[in-house]
C-alpha cells in the first residue's frame, strides 16, 4: 500500500509543482496519472522514489516513511521501486546487457561495481529479462543502435532487474508511435497482472488510460482534480482536467 499525504513540492524558483496532493494506491493496482504537461505528474512520480525531495507532506509505503528515509535507507527503498522514463534514459553508448545489469546496482557492492563485475546470477537474470522483452539477440548491441520501442523495452528490463514491488512509469509511451505505445503498455500490463506489481503510470492519451488504467488520478497545476475510474471521465470532467478549450482527440 502506497499512501501519499499532503504532498507539496515548491521548486527553488518558486514554482509550485505539487500542491497538497493526497491519494492511496493499493498493492497490485495499475494507477494512471493524467494531466497536461507541467501539471506535476513527473514531479509526483519522482517524489515517490525521492529523485526529487518533496517540500512538505509524507509518502508512506508499506508503513515506511519514504520522505524521512536517510541516504542509506533510500538505497534499499529505491531498489524495490523500478522506474521507466519517457526518454528511456538508457546509457546510449553502453551495451544493452550493461544497461539491463545497471538495474542490479542497488544490490551490488559499490566496490565490485567499479570494476564492472556482476555476479553470475545477475548475468543470468539479465539474459532472462532480455528474453522476456524479446531482445535477447540485441544483448551486445549498443543501446543507441536500437529503435525507440526496443529501447523502452530495455528500460523495462532494467527496471525488472530490480525485482521491484512497484513500477513508476513516467509517460513511458509519449516518445513512441501509437502501435509501439500499445506494445509497451501491454508489457506493463503483463507485469502488473502476472507479477501482481503496483504500477503508477503517467499518460497523455485518454484512450490508453481507458484501455489500461484500473484507476485514474488527474492533476492540474499540482492539484488532484479527479480521482476515480477511467470510465467516469466524461466531457465535463475532461474540460476540468485539460482546460475549457481542450477537445478530445484520443
Amino acid at each position: 500500500m502506497l499512501r501519499v499525504e499532503h504532498l507539496t513540492k515548491v521548486y527553488d524558483d518558486g514554482t509550485v509543482a505539487l500542491n497538497d496532493v493526497s491519494f492511496e494506491v493499493p498493492d497490485g493496482e495499475f494507477l494512471a496519472i493524467i494531466g497536461l504537461s507541467g501539471s506535476g505528474k513527473s514531479t509526483l512520480l519522482r517524489c515517490i522514489n525521492r529523485l526529487i525531495d518533496p517540500t512538505e507532506g509524507q509518502i508512506l509505503w508499506n508503513d515506511e516513511d519514504i520522505t524521512a528515509a536517510t541516504h542509506e535507507d533510500m538505497r534499499r527503498i529505491r531498489r524495490r521501486i523500478g522506474m521507466v522514463f519517457q526518454h528511456f534514459n538508457l546509457v546510449s553508448r553502453s551495451k544493452v546487457i550493461t544497461n539491463v545489469l545497471a538495474g542490479r546496482l542497488g544490490y551490488t557492492s559499490p566496490v565490485l561495481a567499479i570494476v564492472n563485475r556482476f555476479s553470475k546470477a545477475d548475468r543470468e537474470m539479465a539474459k532472462r529479462q532480455l528474453e522476456r522483452v524479446g531482445l535477447e539477440t540485441k544483448a551486445n548491441n549498443r543501446a543507441e543502435e536500437l529503435s525507440g520501442g526496443q529501447q523502452q523495452r530495455v528500460g523495462i528490463a532494467r527496471a525488472m532487474m530490480q525485482e521491484p514491488e512497484m513500477i513508476l512509469a513516467d509517460e513511458p509511451v509519449a516518445s513512441l508511435d501509437p502501435v509501439l505505445a500499445h506494445s509497451i503498455m501491454q508489457y506493463l500490463e503483463k507485469i502488473n497482472k502476472e507479477d501482481q506489481m503496483t504500477v503508477l503510470c503517467s499518460l497523455h492519451f485518454l484512450d490508453l488510460v481507458h484501455r489500461y488504467g484500473q484507476r485514474v488520478i488527474a492533476l492540474n497545476e499540482g492539484k488532484v482534480v479527479f480521482e476515480g475510474l477511467p470510465s467516469e471521465i466524461d466531457d465535463a470532467m475532461f474540460k476540468d482536467i485539460y482546460g475549457q478549450e481542450a477537445e478530445r482527440v484520443g
Binding site: 529505491r78 522514463f85 528511456f88 545497471a102
Partner: protein
C-alpha cells in the same frame, strides 16, 4: 525544443495551430543612419590608432635593402641545411702589382687547375683604386670569392660574386692598402660541391674523429696487419691520408673501396649534415616531451575533472556536522598516513637490497592483499561479520603500504642492476624502471597521506552521521557549531601558515592566532547556518575552488611556467615537460569537466533510481558517456603539446626550440630552416593522426 514539443502537445489537445512567432520590421529612420555614421567614425578612429601603435608602414615593406634581406632569409628557408657536401676548392691566380711600377706591368699567364680565365683592368693600380675583375670559364651559377693575396700569403677577401649561367662574372672591387714592390696576386676561389643527393660519390676523408680512428685501428689490426706493425705506424699518416706512405706500407691494393669506406677513410658526399642529425635528435625529444606531458596531465586531469563538474557536484550536500568532523579528520589522517608510510618504508628498507627479495615480497603480499580485500567486501550470499571485514580491510591497507614500498624498491634496485648489466643501448629501459620506482616511493608517501586523510575524514563524517541520527537535536546543533568552528580554525591555520611561509612572517599573532579566531568564527557561522538548513553545499564549494584554480593555471602560458620550472629543475626537457604537464592538467580538467557537464542527465537519473550509490552512478552513467570525448580531447591536447613543445625550448625547456632559437640568433637561417621543416612535418603528421583518431571516437 522542449517548448515546441509542449506547444505541439497542447495543440493536440486544444486543436489550435501553435502561434506564429512575430517578425519585427526594423525602422530605417535618421536615427539608425546616425548610428551607422557614428559606428563608421568610431571604427575609423580605432583602426587609425591600431595602425599607429603597431607601426604599420608600407615603406619598410617595399624598401629594397629590406626586401633583399627578406629574400635572403626566404632563400635560406627554402634550402634547409640537411646535407653536408664535400667540396673541391679551385684557385685561379693572376699576378698583380700595387702600385704600378714605373715601367708598367704586364701580368703573366693565369695559373689554376679549374680552367677558368681571369683578367683585371687595369693590370696594375694604386692602393685603394677601384679595378674591374672579370673571369670566364667557371662553373655557372655558383658563388666565387675574389681575394687579394699579398706576399705574406694571408688572403684578403675583396668580394663574393655569383657567376652567370655561362660561368663568367665581372665585378668592380677596391684594392686594399697594401703597396709592395713584389708581385702580388689576385685570386679567384671557386668552391664546388661534389656529388648530389641522387648521385652520391665518395671522397677521401678530410677529418677523422677519435671514434673512427679507433675503428680503423681495430680494422687494420684484424684484417691487414698485426698489432706490432700498427704500433709502429705514425697514426696521423694512416688516418689522414689514405693514399699516403703509411697506407702503402699496409700493402698496396689490400684495402678495397668498401673497406676504406668502412674504416671511415672515405666519406660519402653528400652525407647528413650534423645539423640534420641534431634536428632529428631534438625533434624526437620534442615529441616525447609532449607525450610525457600529455600522459601525466591526462592521468591527473581525469579524476579532477569530476570534482570540477557542476552537474555532479551541485547535489552533493552534506550535513554541516559531518563536514566539520571530516575537515577535522583531514590533518589527523595526513599525519597517520605519513607515519604509516614512513614506518613501512623503514621496514622495507631494513630488508637486504635484493631485487629478487623485493619482487617476491611484492608478489606474496599482493596475493595476500587480494584475499584480504575479498574478505573485506560484503559479498551477496556469503555473510561475513562486520568486525572480520573491518579487520581484514585494515590489514589489507597496511599490507598495501608494505607491498607498494617493496614494489618501489624492486623497481629501483632491479632497474639499476638491469641498467648495469645490459648493453648501453638498452640501459635506458633499466633507468626508466628505476626512476619510476623512485617516483613510486615518493608518490607513496603522498598517496598514503591522502588516503589517510580520506579515511579519517570519512570516519569523521560517519561519526557525524551517527551523532546526527541519534543525539537529541539541541546537542546535534551544539556539536555542529563546535565542529565547524574547529574545522574553520584549522583551514584558516593552514592558510596562515602558507602566508607566513610566502611572506616570511614570523609573528605568530598574525599567522596563527588571528587566522584561527577568524576561521573559527566563520566556521561557527557556517555551522549555524548549516544547523538551520542541516545541509552544507560541500559539492559546490569544491566545484568553485577547483574551477578557480584551473582557470588561473590555464591562463598562464606554458612558456611562462617553463621559466619557473627551468629555475627549479634546470635547463632541459624535464622542465619543459613539467610546465606543459601542469598546463595540460588545468586545460584538460576544464575541458573534461565541461564534457561531464554536457552529458545526458537522463541515464544518471535512471541509474540513481535503481538505488545505485553516487560512485556507481558515475561509473555506469557518466563514464560511458565521456570516454569518447575524453579520448578525443586527449589527442587534441597532444597535438597542442607537440606544437607548444617546439617552442618551449626558447626559454630553455628542451626540445627543438633550443636549436631553432640558437640558429636564428646566429643568423644561420639555413640551419634554422631544417628545424622549421622538422616542426612542420611533425605538427602536420600529429594533426593528421589526431584528427583521424578523433573522428573514430566522436
Amino acid at each position: 525544443m522542449a517548448d515546441t514539443k509542449e506547444r505541439k502537445l497542447e495543440a493536440a489537445h486544444t486543436g489550435q495551430p501553435p502561434p506564429e512567432p512575430k517578425k519585427g520590421t526594423p525602422g530605417r529612420g535618421w536615427r539608425s543612419i546616425l548610428w551607422i555614421v557614428i559606428a563608421i567614425l568610431a571604427g575609423f578612429v580605432i583602426y587609425a590608432y591600431a595602425f599607429e601603435t603597431t607601426e604599420v608602414s608600407l615603406d619598410t615593406i617595399t624598401d629594397e635593402t629590406r626586401q633583399e634581406s627578406l629574400f635572403r632569409v626566404i632563400r635560406a628557408l627554402g634550402n634547409p641545411l640537411l646535407f653536408d657536401y664535400a667540396a673541391i676548392d679551385t684557385d685561379t691566380d693572376l699576378d698583380y702589382m700595387v702600385p704600378c711600377p714605373a715601367d708598367g706591368f704586364s701580368p703573366g699567364p693565369v695559373r689554376g687547375e679549374g680552367g677558368g680565365t681571369l683578367s683585371v683592368d687595369p693590370p696594375c693600380a694604386d692602393p685603394g683604386d677601384e679595378v674591374t675583375v672579370s673571369g670566364s670559364g667557371f662553373r655557372g651559377n655558383t658563388d666565387v670569392n675574389i681575394y687579394f693575396v699579398p706576399p705574406n700569403s694571408i688572403e684578403l677577401r675583396l668580394a663574393q660574386v655569383r657567376t652567370s649561367a655561362d660561368g663568367s662574372f665581372e665585378e668592380v672591387v677596391r684594392l686594399p692598402n697594401r703597396p709592395d714592390e713584389e708581385v702580388q696576386t689576385v685570386r679567384v676561389l671557386s668552391r664546388q660541391d661534389v656529388g648530389s643527393v641522387f648521385n652520391p660519390v665518395y671522397v677521401p676523408s678530410e677529418d677523422v674523429d677519435d671514434d673512427t680512428a679507433d675503428a680503423v685501428s681495430e680494422f687494420l689490426d684484424d684484417d691487414v696487419i698485426d698489432s706490432g706493425e700498427l704500433a709502429q705506424l705514425p697514426e696521423d699518416s694512416v688516418l689522414r691520408d689514405p693514399e699516403g706512405p703509411a697506407a702503402e706500407a699496409l700493402g698496396d691494393g689490400q684495402l678495397t673501396e668498401a673497406e676504406l669506406r668502412e674504416a671511415g677513410l672515405q666519406v660519402r658526399s653528400p652525407r647528413w649534415h650534423s645539423n640534420a642529425i641534431e634536428t632529428l635528435d631534438k625533434i624526437i625529444e620534442t615529441v616525447f616531451l609532449a607525450l610525457l606531458a600529455t600522459t601525466a596531465g591526462t592521468l591527473i586531469a581525469i579524476p579532477l575533472s569530476f570534482i570540477a563538474a557542476k552537474n555532479l557536484m551541485r547535489d552533493v550536500t552534506i550535513p554541516a556536522l559531518q563536514v566539520g568532523l571530516a575537515i577535522v579528520g583531514i590533518p589527523i589522517g595526513i599525519l597517520i598516513g605519513v607515519i604509516a608510510s614512513n614506518l613501512t618504508g623503514d621496514l622495507v628498507a631494513a630488508l637486504p637490497d635484493s631485487a629478487l627479495l623485493y619482487g617476491a615480497t611484492t608478489l606474496v603480499l599482493s596475493w595476500l592483499i587480494v584475499r584480504l580485500l575479498r574478505m573485506s567486501v560484503p559479498m551477496p550470499g556469503s555473510p561475513s561479520s562486520r568486525t572480520l571485514r573491518i579487520a581484514s580491510g585494515t590489514m589489507a591497507g597496511i599490507l598495501i603500504l608494505v607491498a607498494g614500498q617493496s614494489l618501489a624498491r624492486f623497481a629501483e634496485v632491479g632497474g639499476a642492476s638491469f641498467a648495469n648489466n645490459v648493453p648501453s643501448g638498452l640501459a635506458f629501459l633499466g633507468r626508466f624502471v628505476a626512476t619510476n620506482g623512485d617516483i613510486l616511493a615518493t608518490m607513496f608517501t603522498i598517496l598514503a597521506a591522502l588516503t589517510g586523510a580520506g579515511i579519517i575524514a570519512m570516519l569523521g563524517s560517519r561519526l557525524g552521521y551517527l551523532i546526527g541520527g541519534r543525539a537529541p537535536a539541541a546537542l546535534v546543533n551544539v556539536f555542529t557549531v563546535l565542529s565547524m568552528a574547529v574545522a574553520g580554525a584549522l583551514v584558516a591555520l593552514g592558510f596562515g601558515r602558507v602566508i607566513a611561509w610566502l611572506y616570511q612572517i614570523i609573528d605568530t599573532g598574525t599567522t596563527v592566532w588571528i587566522p584561527m579566531i577568524v576561521g573559527a568564527v566563520v566556521g561557527a557561522l557556517i555551522g549555524w547556518r548549516g544547523m538551520v538548513k542541516r545541509q552544507v553545499g560541500a559539492g559546490l564549494s569544491i566545484y568553485y575552488i577547483s574551477r578557480t584554480v584551473f582557470n588561473t593555471l590555464r591562463s598562464i602560458e606554458p612558456l611562462v611556467m617553463a621559466i619557473v620550472f627551468v629555475i627549479w629543475v634546470g635547463l632541459g626537457p624535464f622542465a619543459g615537460s613539467l610546465a606543459l604537464g601542469l598546463h595540460t592538467v588545468a586545460a584538460l580538467a576544464k575541458l573534461y569537466s565541461e564534457q561531464v557537464e554536457s552529458i545526458n542527465q537522463g541515464p544518471l537519473e535512471a541509474i540513481r533510481a535503481t538505488g545505485a550509490t553516487r560512485l556507481q552512478t558515475v561509473v555506469y552513467g557518466v563514464v560511458p558517456q565521456i570516454v569518447a570525448p575524453y579520448i578525443s580531447f586527449t589527442m587534441y591536447r597532444w597535438d597542442i603539446n607537440v606544437r607548444m613543445s617546439t617552442i618551449i625550448g626558447f626559454v630553455g625547456g628542451g626540445g627543438i626550440g633550443f636549436l631553432l632559437q640558437q640558429n636564428i640568433g646566429l643568423l644561420n637561417y639555413r640551419a634554422a630552416a631544417a628545424q622549421m621543416l622538422a616542426i612542420a612535418i611533425v605538427v602536420a603528421t600529429m594533426d593528421y593522426i589526431s584528427s583521424r583518431l578523433r573522428e573514430r571516437f566522436t
